[in-house]
């Protein structure tokens, strides 16, 4: 018997097939405004920026990226911006070639007020390592895409989200407290994370 069949046979014998699934959870009602999202984000070490009008976005981002070194922006960001201190993410590059990126500018979707997380869909980060290799990560988020809690956040994920091999929830910068419980930002990934709220993207 293969290991698979052996394990499954034992599990099948042990499983009772009695208790049914409890169904959906009914969360308590909570606020989903930018203010609440921003204060949670701040509490987890992130920087809320804005919200800004889409017309001011280019200017706001230029400020954020000034003198930063190599700035790479992902798909879905470019069309709303003019020229600036950034380059578009080249197609088909190896992740290793992005090791020197100082700032990654990526299009986030779905903000979660209860935990400050922003969804980063694989389509907006085609090089899966980019949001972890950069020194600083900047995510753009339409304020209308903020939901109160994780249940609604996951319900909002596009139906094909899990087909696109990676989908990230990112809440604040990389951090560790492994040395005597002292919180240090930038353990491996970005040392800082800014989320730029946009009132009327497109």
């Amino acid at each position: 018997m293969s290991a698979r069949d052996g394990v499954l046979a034992r599990v099948r014998r042990a499983a009772r097939h009695e208790v049914s699934h409890p169904g959906a959870f009914e969360p308590a009602r909570m606020d989903s405004g930018w203010e609440r999202f921003a204060s949670t984000l701040h509490a987890v070490g992130g920087e809320p920026v804005g919200p800004v009008q889409s017309g001011d976005l280019s200017w706001a981002l230029s400020e954020l990226c000034a003198d930063a070194g190599r700035v790479v922006m992902g798909p879905g960001v470019a069309q709303s911006l003019g020229p600036g201190p950034w380059e578009e993410l080249p197609e088909g590059v190896s992740p290793q070639s992005l090791a020197d990126v100082a700032v990654a500018l990526l299009r986030g979707s779905i903000g979660v007020a209860e935990n400050g997380a922003v969804a980063l869909d694989g389509r907006h980060a085609p090089v899966r390592a980019l949001p972890y290799l950069c020194e600083r990560l900047i995510l753009l988020l339409e304020t209308s895409e903020i939901v109160p809690d994780m249940h609604q956040a996951i319900a909002r994920m596009p139906p094909d989200a899990t087909r696109f091999h990676h989908f990230y929830w990112i809440s604040g910068p990389s951090k560790t407290a492994d040395i005597e419980q002292t919180l240090v930002l930038g353990a491996h990934g970005p040392r800082s994370l800014a989320v730029v709220g946009i009132r009327d993207l497109q």
Binding site: A14, A117, I179, E180
Partner: protein, 456 residues
């Protein structure tokens, strides 16, 4: 029992500063958890809901495992099954060997600790680098993690500075956590970039979509699974949950219970390999199906490894994780060891508990941990002969008031002898680092009678 205590006493945290620091650090996590819980009106309802999902999932685990397997395969992942830790290690090694891999980066995975993967691979000339900072510290120190969430919580900053100095040539005497973390970052980044394979654990596996979910704060797992072409994810068969919607419940509980954060910094959902890469998922049984068949103890498979029960446990806080001698320490470690550990002493761990119930009160999936510990004590089939005699004697004494009074008097009489260090003292090892408290001089019953008399 005394052999257990003797053998383990040497692994206890020493009294004084190390003990105080450890206790403060883990209890700080407990306090952060409490603050996060208080801020979320849903929390108790979420615990109940999570428990219900887990109970259901375990009841249909065969169906969910098959669903997960077929969905993951449909997304392009290769699913492997391992009966035990040895089979798991063999599968992982085979995958690496076939591809000529020499350098591996690994993120935190309690399962691979349970299977002893690192020593197995290192013995076969592979370079395995643990990338979670805490794991890296215990790897450099050549020891087991002492906590499932903060593996190096037993180490002081000075000790960590010294380890880094020896292994990474950092300046001697450096003990600043910010600079030490920066040194580790600089040491590990090139290793990430050069690695040919990344091994990660799995926090949740979604049957509906074939997705694996990995939760970290550092982002090390993400670098490990997105830079090298080969990603191997190891998971126990109990990690499966039914749907994507169910994930929300567990994500809301996990980090709050672990560190008081509302969610970990990174929650990565991975479905199939990335373009040009490979994803292999190894499903490991290693005693879990046996535990599933045990109706008293199957609920311990619901554990999501948040560490809350460790942080609140008076025994864990006092003893430190190494005293348990297992990959997983604390109350959940003591509950799982009799079922999953290959070592005989694992079966004795349920004895090392006060049964205070604090663990059960914080567990996000409502595992009845202290009830489980008590149940293991009842079913323990491996008590030594000497211990059985002691237990029987205790039953006789505790069953007769006069005998109990006499025994109490005898112990009070012998107390000064027990508290002193001398070669024949049965409490000898315990006195190496600590003192017996002064006893109250008279039994509770006597003092109660006196008190009542004086009131009249």
């Amino acid at each position: 029992m005394s052999e257990l205590l003797d053998a383990r006493a040497a692994t206890l945290l020493p009294d004084g500063e190390p003990l105080r620091r450890h206790d403060a650090a883990v209890f700080d996590l407990r306090r952060r958890r409490d603050a996060a819980v208080a801020a979320l009106p849903d929390f108790e309802a979420l615990r109940t809901h999570a428990q219900a999902i887990k109970t259901h999932t375990l009841d249909y685990l065969d169906a969910y495992l098959e669903r997960f397997e077929s969905q993951a395969a449909a997304a392009g992942a290769v699913v492997h099954w391992a009966e035990d830790g040895a089979a798991h290690n063999d599968i992982v090694h085979g995958l690496l060997r076939e591809r000529g891999v020499r350098r591996v980066v690994k993120s935190k995975s309690m399962l691979t600790e349970e299977c002893g993967l690192n020593p197995y691979l290192e013995a076969r000339d592979l370079e395995v680098v643990d990338t979670d900072l805490g794991e890296r510290i215990v790897q450099l120190g050549q020891e087991l993690p002492s906590h499932i969430v903060v593996p190096a919580v037993h180490r002081s900053r000075a000790e960590i500075g010294e380890l880094f100095h020896v292994h990474m040539q950092t300046p001697s005497g450096e003990s600043d956590p910010v600079r030490l973390t920066e040194y580790a970052r600089r040491d590990l980044r090139p290793r990430f970039l050069a690695a040919e394979a990344g091994i990660t654990g799995v926090n949740f596996a979604i049957a509906e979509t074939g997705t694996i979910v990995v939760c970290t704060n550092e982002g090390n797992a993400d670098l490990g699974m997105s830079l090298p072409p080969l990603h191997i994810a190891s998971m126990g068969i109990e990690k499966v949950i039914p749907t994507l919607a169910d994930l929300a419940t567990f994500l809301r509980l996990l980090a709050r219970s672990a560190t008081g954060q509302p969610i970990t910094a990174y929650t990565s959902l991975v479905t199939g390999p990335r373009a040009g890469g490979e994803l292999h998922i190894v499903l490991v049984d290693n005693g879990r199906s046996r535990l599933l068949a045990n109706s008293t103890h199957r609920s311990s498979l619901a554990c999501i490894r948040c560490g809350a029960c460790l942080n609140t446990c008076p025994v864990y806080r006092r003893a430190g994780g190494h005293a348990y001698g297992q990959a997983v320490a604390g109350p959940i470690g003591a509950v799982l060891a009799p079922a999953l550990s290959s070592q005989a002493e694992g079966r004795r761990l349920p004895l090392a508990s006060t049964l205070c119930g604090s663990c059960s009160a914080v567990c996000p999936v409502r595992i009845d941990l202290h009830g489980q510990l008590l149940a293991w004590r009842r079913t323990r089939a491996h008590a030594g002969a000497g211990e059985r005699v002691l237990q029987r004697a205790a039953a006789v004494v505790l069953g007769r008031a006069a005998l109990l009074r006499a025994a109490g008097a005898l112990v009070r009489l012998c107390w000064p002898l027990l508290a002193r260090r001398w070669p024949g003292n049965p409490l000898g090892v315990w006195l190496l680092g600590r003192q017996l408290p002064a006893h109250p001089g008279a039994s509770f019953a006597t003092r109660y009678r006196r008190l009542k008399g004086s009131k009249r």
